[in-house]
Amino acid sequence: MAHSVFLPIEIACLALLAWIVLAFLGLACIRQPRIILNVIFPAGAAISLVIAVVGFMALTLQAQTIILPLGLPNLPFHLRLDNLSGVFLTLLGGVSFAVSIFSCGYFRNYNGPKLALVALQYHTFLASMALVLLADDAYLFMVAWGAMAVASYFLVTTEHQVPQNRSAGFIYLLTAHLGAIAILFSFGVIQGGHGEYTFDALRQAPLTPLWSTVAFLLAFFGFGAKAGMLPLHIWLPEAHPAAPSPVSALMSGVMIKTAIYGMIRVIYDLLGVIQWQWGMVVLTVGAATALFGILFALTQNDLKRLLAYSSVENIGIILIGLGLSMVFMGMGHPTLGVLGLIAALYHTINHGIYKALLFLGAGAILRSSGMRNLNQMGGFIRHMPKIALFMLVGVLSISALPPLNGFASEWLIFQTTLQAPALQSGVLRSLVPVTAAILALVGALTATCFVKVFGIAFLGQMRNPDLKEIHDARFTETIGMAWLAISCVVLGLLPVFVIHLLNNVSLSITGFGLPSDAVDSNWIWLIPTSAARASYSPIIFFAVVISAVLITIFLVHRLYHGRLRRGPAWDCGYPEQTPRMQDSSDAFAQAIRRIFGPVFKATRHFPSPDDTAPRFSVTVEDKHWAGLYLRIARLTTFVSNQLGVVQQGRIHVYLLYSLVTLIALLIFVQ
């Protein structure tokens, strides 16, 4: 086997190094953009594959550690490759492979310097994410975490001429920084006073329940800020539209997942003893995040903003899974907790893949048509059938429709919620199913949202017919999207394998696994706890639907005729069918805005009566801005204004300060 020569972790380190080297090669090739496109990015993709393979191998291997002679004098860099990091490395490798390939085509119209910088930051970004997953001591983790934030920040501000992009970048880095500080402090709490910062030491460190709760809260805040949970999500819908689409794909697909990784690492692995109250916190926040995210996604018109909000929603769903798992763990039902954990991990992977796919699709549309606003799109399926196909796969997956992967993971989460009777306290027993209700609502809303996306963007008539020369995805772009689409289908059809692999993870970090029924079940039947409770077989499902369709077609054409004529669409008696008669994206979301009115801050712009080409438009704002962030900003300025008075220019006053200080201190000492 490969790792008889090289340990997987060593290969991982080498791959990481190779990425960094590529980054600087990219910078060196500032004059030859061709080389960057045709050599650097494909090479990066190859490395991604290596990473993916390593991560996959790690899923079945024992944890391996390695210590690099770098870092702080008494805290060298510790690296560790275990099953948990394996999962996320696989995700990183798999997604970044597709994205790198896609980028070869996507960045073709960038000029030399810009492209070189992108190549530099892009590969640094990849390397730092891998490093986050491999880090085994607090310092290295923080370093990698920060490098990740900085690299992605520069990628977000690639188009820094646009003012919104600058502010987006600023908000993003600010949130990331605050989060990082919180995480740092949480590590500081966990190590409990003996100043050892390797993760092993943190695992051993004894903590009082109070302090571990403090640590949990800090970590939850810090990682939540990166993951985009309520109310720290504001950076996401700003940064994603600003960044180049492949980068948005990476950020949504992988980067915010590293925050989930961090949560699992800290809560399950480092803290170990989980209290059910934590679970409730995570559960509530998760539910709120999911609902809020999807409601806002529904009301967006900018495709990438919409996708960003839907990422918020999915993070919420993942948090629901985690929260359930923590509740069960805390209440002393580890096996059920494991189910929740696996569901969360599974959904993490799935979301990583289909969200990356959707962002790449959005990018392809943007590059070929220059459009991000749904209200202007329409009928693209006739010009970009390939993109449409892949987007359809992504849409069906994210809408949690069987038999694709989104459904599989949400199904598992539902199963977890249905284990509520096992809980002792009646309150929890009745609260947990409510989250199930919210999850159901969110799922249905997601379907609505993405019907809107696909229907408005690809179906119907072209909204502005004068738009010429829009063409389909380029070759490399196609490969990138195809890769992700295929993995969506595979992950949807073979959940059992995934479950078994993830079971190793939970065994290695919590020490518990799924019940025997689930583990022994063969590859057709997905059985969470026991066959009698629930079972699901996407393959049979898929086979039956397909065959049913074929049979129907066959019968219909056999028993009757297959004659078909084409004609103009029925025009309802109007003289003509103009594209403007179709539902716009605004119109589609109108019912939502009306039903969930209180959530939004919607302002409608009516056309004036004597407007020859009247357009009705509506803008939806996030209430958190005015409600929370602007207040904080105002408070800060107030304080600093108060302090500014101290410095009022007269040297006598300054001298007085020193005299007073001196005397005060002298009195203090005496």
């Binding site: 770098l70 870092g71 702080l72 004098p73 607090a138 310092y139 923080m142 370093v143 990698a144 975490w145 920060g146 490098a147 934030a149 900085v150 501000t157 820094h160 001429q161 003012p163 600058r166 970048g169 600023f170 880095l173 600010l174 920084h177 605050l178 990082a180 500080i181 919180a182 740092l184 402090f185 590590f187 500081g188 709490v189 190590q191 409990g192 006073g193 100043g195 910062y197 800060t636 300025t637 304080v639 600093s640 204004n641 302090l643 500014g644 101290v646 410095q647 040297i651 300054y654 001298l655 300060y657 020193s658 200080t661 001196l662 201190l665 002298l666 000492v669």
Partner: protein
């Protein structure tokens, strides 16, 4: 012997330049002198590394793990600064902001300032240390007012008076110290030698020493820029020529803090209480918080980074006050990375101001377009100074914060808020300066940005790898700082 050279070179150089400073080759000559000083410092460092701490010239001079790295740092920053100031001052001359005589003054004073810094570091005599600190003020005060603008004069005057008064308090502290030491060591020269004082510190009279420390703290603290004694600092940084701001932030503050720490060691030894520590922590926290909040209202780029210097000095003071091996180590590391980063930032900021012809940040835009090197230098420097990994500033902040985590948890909220506010304040401004579009013209001389990137590279290196011998010094120093 190295000590002799290391002091003689800048002194004689300063004297020479006072006469020849108006020649065209004066900048190159100054550069040469700084290079020589750096080499001498290198030799001295090698000497200490090989033989450990030693005293020289019948104990008047003293080198140990604490001051040697500061000596090396000082020589290095002095060298890079003169490297930077060569084109910078020429551009200033082309812009007609300074005349030939002013340049002569500048070159000679720069060397003398280096001399005073090194003297303060190397001297074993607390009295001489004081003399050197005062001399440092005297050498820089005329540089602050180099442009003769009303603002610069005002800044210089405040700098002069406030630091003069402050330093006077320090002198009184020194007298008290001498007074206490004389009891044990007898009167005469040796009673102020730090090595002797350190040897007998447990016997020193506590009440006197606590008073002495108050005076020393207020005195040297004024030069460190501790709130509320800091008022001279932003003005001087903003109005003086950029190289001066760079060395003020990069060297002077460090050396002043060095003096405070030396005093703290004695007082701790004598008092057996944590008084000095608490005082320093108090000043440190106050400085960090106030500076962080004042950052957000700055309009002048150099003034803003001056406040950031106050903030970081506060953090270092806090670290030393906290004490303990980790915290002191972190403090030393932070001293190093801060002076490297901050001087780098000032270099970049200076060129930025020259490019756009203003120091008002609202009028500086799109640096990255006009001169990518300046833009990236400023951006990366800012990211480094804000303590974002993988830069070295983060390494030290990591240690400080985690140490504070279990030594003084009550301080955490202040630090948390301050760091957040400082980040928001600085980064929002720098970002809008670096990015965006611009129409600024090119510079008459190509800017020297080698120093910027050398410094940043070093800082980056310290973030991911600290050389063993450096770590060794820091450890030793941290040991006896306690």
């Amino acid at each position: 012997m190295e000590i002799f050279w290391i002091l003689a070179i800048p002194l004689t150089g300063g004297a020479l330049l006072a006469v020849l400073g108006n020649r065209d080759w004066a900048p190159e000559f100054g550069l040469f002198l700084s290079a020589c000083t750096l080499v001498a410092a290198g030799f001295l460092t090698a000497h200490v590394v090989s033989e450990g701490p030693f005293t020289a010239f019948n104990e008047q001079f003293f080198v140990d793990s604490f001051n040697i790295f500061l000596v090396a740092l000082t020589a290095l920053v002095a060298f890079t600064t003169s490297l930077f100031s060569r084109p910078y001052m020429r551009i200033e001359r082309d812009h007609g902001k300074v005349g030939v005589k002013a340049l002569r003054l500048y070159h000679s004073m720069f060397q003398l300032f280096t001399f005073t810094m090194l003297l303060a570091l190397l001297s074993n005599n607390m009295g001489i240390l004081w003399v050197a600190m005062e001399a440092a003020t005297l050498t820089t005060v005329l540089l602050v007012s180099l442009y003769r603008t009303p603002a610069s004069l005002e800044a210089a005057w405040k700098y002069f008076i406030l630091c003069g008064v402050g330093i006077a308090q320090a002198l009184f502290g020194t007298i008290l110290l001498y007074f206490a030491a004389e009891k044990i060591l007898g009167s005469g020269g040796t009673a102020l030698l730090w090595t002797h004082l350190n040897a007998v510190k447990p016997q020193l009279e506590p009440t006197v020493l606590s008073l002495a420390f108050i005076f020393l703290l207020v005195g040297y603290g004024t030069k460190v820029g501790l709130v509320p004694l800091h008022n001279w600092l932003p003005d001087a940084h903003a109005e003086g020529p950029t190289p001066v701001s760079a060395v003020l932030s990069g060297l002077l503050l460090n050396v002043a803090l060095y003096a405070v720490v030396r005093a703290k060691v004695l007082v701790d030894g004598a008092l057996h209480t944590h008084l000095a520590g608490y005082l320093m922590m108090g000043f440190g926290l106050l400085s960090v918080t106030v500076a962080a909040f004042l950052l957000s209202r700055q309009k002048d780029i150099k003034r803003m980074f001056a406040y950031s210097s106050i903030e970081h000095m506060g953090l270092i003071t806090f670290a030393f006050g906290m004490g303990g091996a980790v915290a002191s180590f972190a403090g030393l590391l932070h001293m190093t990375v801060h002076s490297l980063t901050k001087s780098a930032i000032f270099f970049a900021a200076g060129h930025a101001a020259q490019i756009t012809g203003t120091q008002i940040m609202d009028n500086i835009r799109g640096l990255i377009r006009q001169s990518p090197a300046v833009g990236w230098g400023l951006m990366l420097g800012t990211i480094a100074i804000l303590g974002i990994p993988p830069f070295g500033v983060f390494a030290s902040e990591f240690l400080i914060l985690t140490a504070a985590m279990h030594q003084t948890p009550w301080a955490i909220p202040f630090l948390l808020i301050s760091l957040g506010v400082a980040f928001a304040a600085i980064f929002s401004k720098v970002q809008s300066m670096v990015f965006g579009e611009t129409t600024a013209p090119r510079l008459s001389h190509s800017p020297a940005l080698v120093p910027v990137f050398v410094h940043l590279l070093l800082v980056l290196l310290l973030g991911i790898y600290i050389p063993p011998y450096l770590a060794e010094w820091f450890h030793q120093a941290a040991q006896w700082i306690g």
